[in-house]
Subunit: 225 residues, 2 copies
């Protein structure tokens, strides 16, 4: 499949690399490709600049959000939740129409420091806001409940764990589930419509505090039943 | 230990029964014992009236919140989250002073129907509100992340799962962890201070939607790491 990953941070890099390993043709979208490649500083989390990762992955083109979206069959929104709607607007509603968009972002608000709060929650969700803003796009919320390395390689844990899908389009969820299975996820729970993204987005506060208690983000939940 | 369970609903009954099986001396507290015993109708969830359960558990006395609290070494708040502060006020601040209070309630707001939202979240929690209102009480938030039957008997699932404790008093958390271990919980994660109750309370929206997807509440999460 031709897949566009929107977002050049650590999550975008990890997802893009994982999709290439599954045999997909992957393009990474960014606001300004030249500016992204010119950056030499590490990000706020200490990750190396995109250019260094990109040099080691020369099969993956870097282009604008709009060009990436125009050529893609499926998109992954791997940006900062606060920038999600602006990134998709830049990608262009027509370029997104009819396509599956996997929203792996979280509505994190760091304005009051760490741990962040959620800028939308409980009676709405970022997944729903994206679906409402781009009604012709087939939004599937998934993978926002675990750290990037485990999104694409859950076998790094000794035991199979759980991921979730939320969305209004059953065929889109089936497509996403196939990708998840390709990554190695053995337990994918379909929560229902996109409004069930409220559930997975609201896991983040517990995820953050569990990371604090364990001293690592290399964990995931398994729904035992 | 002398334990008071505040709340006569299905959760209170299950917790009281579980604590008796561990060898504790248990009293159940309610607003008006005579009225509680006089009720003959099932509750909103179809559970039989308290009197029927009580007749089968005659070793467990029913008394007022205040009397239950006065005689207890440790209390379990097993009521409706919306009634939590009123129940504790009725129990009496002096009767609660210095004691461990296990808060297993959730701040559920059913006013807009099902699934409920949370009436406090993200920048505050019910656990914190209780600790702030009763500063001399040693509040430990726990067990609010799973269904009552599994709180006291996690072995009903084929696999060991995870429960959490949040609280400002390390000795109180150790006491509660001992009870949890007695129930059969093999993985108790100490999240930190009472403010980490924001995390476990905000799991509820995902818990409710997972219950919807699975068609059962007989599940629990395991933190795989």
């Amino acid at each position: 499949m031709n897949i566009a990953v929107l977002g050049t941070g650590m999550v975008g890099q990890t997802i893009a690399g994982g999709l290439v390993r599954l045999g997909h043709s992957v393009v990474v979208g960014t606001r300004d490709p030249e500016a992204t490649l010119a950056r030499t500083e590490t990000d706020g989390m200490g990750n190396p600049p995109f250019a260094r990762w990109h040099a080691a992955h020369d099969g993956i083109a870097l282009t604008t959000y709009a060009d990436a979206a125009a050529g893609a069959d499926l998109l992954v929104l791997a940006g900062n939740g606060g920038a999600a709607l602006a990134m998709l607007t830049a990608a262009g509603e027509d370029n997104l129409a009819g396509k599956v968009l996997v929203d792996i972002s979280n509505p994190l608000d760091f304005s009051a420091g760490f741990p962040p709060t959620l800028f939308v929650k409980d009676d709405d969700s970022l997944g729903e806001q994206i679906q409402a803003a781009f009604p012709r796009t087939r939004v599937v919320k998934s993978l926002n409940t675990l750290t990037a390395a485990l999104m694409v390689d859950p076998g790094l844990l000794d035991e199979a764990t759980t991921v979730f899908v939320s969305g209004d389009d059953a065929a889109a969820k089936a497509t996403v589930t196939e990708i998840l299975t390709g990554f190695g996820h053995q337990d994918v729970i379909d929560l229902g419509g996109i409004e069930t993204a409220r559930g997975t987005e609201m896991l983040l506060p517990l995820w953050l505090r569990t990371m604090g208690a364990l001293g690592t983000g290399m964990f995931n939940i398994k729904v035992v039943r």
